[in-house]
């Protein structure tokens, strides 16, 4: 039998997945007609595209056995003869599913067709916006709803001064009430977005008819300048195919379907935003998914019906948590059969309202602005009894009492999964969130229920498995405490007394090596410790793809004398090493064979260099800008501080590498906010930022303390680093660690000494600084240590014959020796 699906959007995709999950491809030959030229993607996360998430990452995998025709829209359907026409051919069907979604509504405003006016619905729209916005200064968004605020954020991210025009007297009129809207407005304006509320756009103006937009005229008479205009004024169902075929549509559009998602013609279904079900169209993905499930069931002979929809939403808009659920917008006074419980904290910009039945027992709906941590619990309680007193539920995160939901409560609304179903999955052996996801689908869509899933796991007594590897059932932090408290010095002691058997592996050995190094700071390659080190630490250099090593001498703060530059140049020339300036303000020499490392380092040490620890999970570089010494804007000596800090923390081993930077003023030329700890000069001293990261998941650092003296700064950095070293997980950068433990907590420990361990942290750092030694110098001074730097134990001088180079742009490059298929983690 033949199934034709029209539209490959989120809901069409969900239908395909459900059919695949039920092995329906055996009964149905499935063709999908898609208007867009790319396969379905996560439209809900569309705006992430401006945060650097690629189109590919947003896209879904198409189940096997589906004939997907990209860029081939359906032009007409004929229910009588069961035929669909495309520009290429005529297809026959036994069942047809319309999943054509919506189109953005563009109000009939004068000038809406000018260049520079866009809508916000597809990846192509976003690409066009990004292209057009380059070099522009001001943007305006028409529409202050959910979509409008997302678009406004996008314009901000593109570097434009941003205006939002909303017809209603508050932002997000469909989701939040008046008081919530006021708090939201406060947030949005603090971000520099100018709001124009209670105003309609009467015209989009440009210099001449047909020339690009340069501003908006509002019904209030105001003029809003705008080089680019994004219209986000709502959506309309794409019901044209159905209309053309004579299938009934609703008064405000939308293909009318029954609770089995069937149109007036039983062979034609409609799902998602294009469908009008129970008298309404839904502009959210969860109801669409529910419809997709209904149709998947029906196509296999079932009789599922649409269970009704929850239109709850939770968003993080412009960094503000906003949530609305259930029946939140009942007029505050008129209704006598319901009670409003309102919580307003203007100082912290938190607003919450719960709508309860008149006996104050049943939760009917609510609105949260500023702090939505209670959302998963509240939403799951909708229509049922409140699991705790209202104010307990609304109390800021962390102060919440134990709350338990009834088993029938829907934990994941996107996928209609109840608490009982999740508990059932846990009982059947799902022991972490990914397992629950794949077994129940809970948490796989908007993700807002994931905290609740974690809570259920914890309640069920499933302890998240933090075992390092098969040899230790402890986390790195626990192992750190064990080693420290018991004063253990060797891996053998650690594994025989605290391991689970065996002799370790490439995961636990480097962890123990790093803990021993952080605690004792001894030469890392003596005795048993030698066996623990990763190859990079073992040879004090970074292994490259062809088995050669790179050499990175320390260049503190990026400052270097001409003599030292010449010395590096001479070494590179004499050993014929590929030479490159790194992203960390220093110089990397590549292509050294293992037996050459000691000779190269002898030359570098003679010229006054020391190890740069590019190979270690250790302090890397402290970048600097020129600062007040030279720069006309500088307010402090950033180079001097960077050098002092790099020398203070050099050689410090940690759960992961540590990077830092110091900028001489707020222009931030050293990019300190992208570092594990970053320092920015102020007129009064230094601001200290922590938890920044470039790399895989970039994160801007958070301000820990401001206007510090140099002495205070150093004290806080000392404690920050030692607290991180003691408590972080294996390979956890400070960014992830801060998110796990919380910035406020870290601040309390470091600044207010809330745990009373500051003295101990200070002493640990003092011990590190006092025992610093250059590893390369220590190696060269000792013939035994040197003996491992040989190519072959029986032919120490013979170069590895597999290492071969060719030349490119005047320097050596490795000759490709094999096909590299990276697998595990490259650390």
């Amino acid at each position: 039998m033949k199934l034709v699906v029209v539209g490959h959007g989120m809901v069409g995709q969900r239908l395909l997945e459900s059919l695949a999950a039920r092995a329906a491809t055996r009964d149905w030959e499935i063709t999908v007609l898609a208007e867009e030229t790319r396969r379905a993607y996560d439209r809900v996360r569309l705006s992430a595209y401006f945060d650097g998430v690629s189109a590919e990452e947003l896209s879904y995998d198409v189940p096997a056995g589906v004939d997907l025709r990209l860029g081939e829209p359906a032009l007409a359907i004929d229910p009588g003869s069961r035929k669909v026409t495309t520009a290429r051919e005529m297809l026959t069907y036994d069942a047809l599913v319309l999943a054509t979604g919506s189109y953005p509504f563009v109000p009939p405003v004068e000038g809406a067709d000018r260049p520079g006016v866009f809508v916000y619905r597809t990846l192509d729209d976003l690409e066009r916006i990004r292209e057009y916005a380059a070099g522009k200064r001001v943007g305006a968004v028409i529409g202050g709803g959910l979509l409008g605020l997302e678009a406004a954020n996008a314009l901000r991210l593109l570097g434009l001064a941003t205006h939002v025009v909303e017809f209603a007297p508050r932002l997000m009129p469909l989701q939040v009430d008046e008081a919530g809207g006021a708090v939201l407005k406060q947030y949005v304006e603090e971000l520099g977005v100018v709001t124009h509320l209670g105003a309609a756009t009467t015209a989009i103006r440009g210099e001449r008819p047909g020339s690009p937009a340069n501003g908006l005229v509002l019904s209030t008479g105001a003029w809003v300048p705008a080089d680019i205009v994004v219209i986000a004024a709502g959506v309309r169902p794409r019901d044209d195919l159905a209309r053309g075929a004579g299938l009934p549509v609703g008064a405000r559009g939308g293909v009318i379907v029954d609770d089995g998602c069937r149109t007036a013609d039983p062979a034609v279904y409609a799902i998602g935003e294009v469908a009008e079900i129970g008298g309404r169209c839904y502009g959210l993905v969860a109801p669409g998914y529910a419809m997709a499930e209904v149709v998947a069931d029906r196509l296999l002979g079932g009789a599922a019906t649409f269970p009704g929809a929850d239109t709850s939403t939770k968003l993080k808009l412009l960094g503000v948590d906003v949530a609305s659920f259930g029946d939140a917008l009942t007029p505050d006074k008129a209704a006598t059969d319901r009670l409003d419980v309102v919580y307003l904290d203007p100082a912290n910009k938190v607003y919450a309202k719960l709508v309860l039945s008149d006996d104050a027992r049943t939760l009917l709906g609510g609105v949260l602005v500023g702090d939505a941590s209670a959302y998963p619990t509240l939403r799951a309680s909708l229509g049922g009894e409140l699991p705790a007193a209202p104010l307990t539920l609304l109390a800021p995160a962390g102060e919440q009492a134990d709350i338990s939901l009834p088993g029938t409560a829907q934990v994941c609304t996107c996928n209609a999964v109840t608490k009982d179903q999740v508990l059932g999955a846990i009982a059947e052996g799902c022991c972490d969130v990914p397992a629950i996801k794949s077994c129940t689908r809970a948490g796989t869509s908007c993700g807002s229920c994931v905290p609740l899933l974690k809570q259920l796991l914890a309640e069920a007594g499933v302890v998240a498995d933090k075992s390092l590897c098969e040899h230790f059932s402890y986390s790195r932090a626990e192992l750190f405490d064990i080693v420290k408290v018991r004063g253990l010095r060797t891996f053998s002691q650690v594994i025989t007394e605290h391991g689970t058997g065996g002799r370790g592996c490439d995961i636990c050995k480097p962890v123990v090596a790093s803990i021993l190094a952080s605690l004792h700071n001894e030469y890392i390659l003596d005795g048993e410790q030698a066996a623990l080190q990763d190859t990079n630490d073992h040879f004090l250099a970074n292994m490259q793809r062809n088995g050669t090593y790179s050499v990175v001498p320390r260049i503190p703060g990026g400052e270097i004398t001409p003599e030292k530059l010449i010395a590096i140049g001479e070494v590179a020339r004499d050993f014929d090493l590929y030479t490159k300036i790194t992203g960390g303000q220093r110089i990397d020499l590549f292509g050294a064979r293992v037996e050459q490392l000691p000779q190269i380092w002898q030359r570098l040490i003679d010229a006054g260099f020391e190890s740069g620890h590019a190979y270690g999970k250790a302090l890397r570089t402290i970048k600097s800008c020129v600062g007040s010494t030279w720069c006309r804007y500088g307010v402090q000596d950033s180079v001097g501080l960077a050098i002092a800090l790099e020398l203070r923390y050099r050689g410090l081993r940690a759960p992961h590498k540590i990077k830092s930077a110091v900028s001489g003023c707020a222009r931030e030329c050293a990019e300190a906010k992208g570092k594990d700890f970053g320092i920015i000069a102020t007129e009064a001293g230094w601001n200290l930022y922590v938890g920044g990261n470039g790399g895989f998941r970039p994160r801007h650092a958070d301000l820990l303390a401001s206007d510090l003296t140099t002495e205070e700064l150093i004290r806080y950095v000392d404690r920050f680093l030692m607290f991180y070293i003691r408590t972080a997980d294996r390979l956890q950068r400070t960014s992830a660690w801060i998110e796990a433990v919380g910035l406020d907590y870290v601040r309390e420990v470091i600044v207010a000494d809330s745990l009373g361990i500051a003295g101990e942290l200070d002493a640990m750092m003092a011990q590190h600084i006092g025992s610093y030694h250059d590893e390369w110098k220590a190696t060269l001074d000792d013939p035994v240590r040197l003996s491992r730097f040989v190519s072959f134990v029986n032919a120490p001088e013979t170069p590895d014959p597999t290492i071969q180079f060719t030349r490119e742009r005047g320097q050596i490059v490795p000759l490709q020796i094999g096909t590299v298929t990276p697998t595990g983690s490259v650390t």
Binding site: R503, C505, D506, V793, N794, I803, G824
Partner: protein, 110 residues
């Protein structure tokens, strides 16, 4: 042809739970490992995934009962007894006979 034993180095040159490379003839690279219990194993030194001669520089350990080494490049783990890659079925490195005689390590070739 009968197996020839080639002497590569004194046993004392092997570090506990580390490897070292030896060159047999002009081309054959063997990675020698000394385990915690003193046993010696020899496998091919070339990492089959990358073609780089680096296995002797990986971390030695155990997986279940198997003594192992993890390739230092992309961390695939090999069983030192069989040469089999425990992470990628079908991938393996050669295993060489090895013995200690009069304090000298000998590798069987031919």
């Amino acid at each position: 042809m009968a197996m020839k034993w080639e002497t590569v180095c004194p046993y004392g040159r092997l570090e506990t739970e580390r490897g070292i490379a030896a060159l047999i003839g002009r081309e054959t690279q063997v990675a020698l490992f000394r385990l915690f219990d003193g046993a010696v194993h020899a496998i091919g030194n070339v990492d089959p995934i990358t073609g780089a001669a680096v296995l002797s520089r990986g971390i030695v350990g155990t997986r279940g009962a198997a003594p192992t080494v993890a390739s230092p490049l992309y961390k695939e783990v090999y069983d030192l007894r069989t040469g089999e890659c425990l992470d990628k079925p079908g991938v393996a490195v050669p295993v060489y006979p090895v013995r200690v005689r009069d304090g000298l390590v000998e590798v069987g070739v031919g």
